[in-house]
Symmetry: C2
Subunit: 168 residues, 2 copies
Amino acid sequence: MRILGIDPGSRATGYGLVEKQGNRLRHIDNGVILTGGEAPLSERLGIIYRELGAVIARHAPQVVAIEQIFLARNALSALKLGHARGVALLAGVHHQLPVYEYTALQVKSAVVGYGRAGKAQIQEMVRILLNLPEVAQEDASDALAVAICHAHSAGLNQRVAQALTAKP
Amino acid sequence: MRILGIDPGSRATGYGLVEKQGNRLRHIDNGVILTGGEAPLSERLGIIYRELGAVIARHAPQVVAIEQIFLARNALSALKLGHARGVALLAGVHHQLPVYEYTALQVKSAVVGYGRAGKAQIQEMVRILLNLPEVAQEDASDALAVAICHAHSAGLNQRVAQALTAKP
């Protein structure tokens, strides 16, 4: 299963692709879509949508994972984030990909094993889990983290489903 | 000039089309895109994008006008609104339409003539200005209001441009 993790933002949107083969995780690609802070918001959203579409076309993921947001610094930053996140969700929907959402707590727990891990710890664990030569850029690393979270959860969901089916 | 006003929301997105001919405004169409609160957010965004695209295809507006948001009740409602608004902006961009943003103060001043007008006053003024048989649904009326705001501003911008060109 190939998973596309997305960390949306109106200025920088991180993406990360991870392939899950049995219990093993393989890194496929990661990067950051920069939109430039100067262009009008509508144009920046157009860039995010187009570039995510190109990433999906290039790597053909089967599923999209994205962080679920409950809190933001303030209403204005939430509004900006919402624009980028809405466009990222739409890119998934338009490619007929199921979209899974995970809370920051779920992502941290899946990657580091505990929910209060700091940014640097998460980045280093992403590097180790995916056998990267060096730590990925922050937004790309966050995108890989949510993809890893989905890989772990998907495995868990599958085992739960198997356990339920195996019941007499 | 045909103007599409949009009032985005994750559950209900209003739209309103107005034709400006000289100093006269003509109502073309208005309506509300309901997404149903039950579907996943990504699907609802897909509906908003698709239906706005259908409205644009049906009425061929030359420009999109949308309210600019600075404040929201709280970060969570701002986030939700941002998703819908991002998708609405994208629908405009994907149809090569210029998108203009107006503050609530600008919209109220343009429609009612003063910035502290209440909702009912705005709805009634929209009805009178567009010669509607009855007040439009709230979200559709808000969309018509921002379209009217653009019509007035566009006229003003044109007169300013003419005045500048006429200078010796």
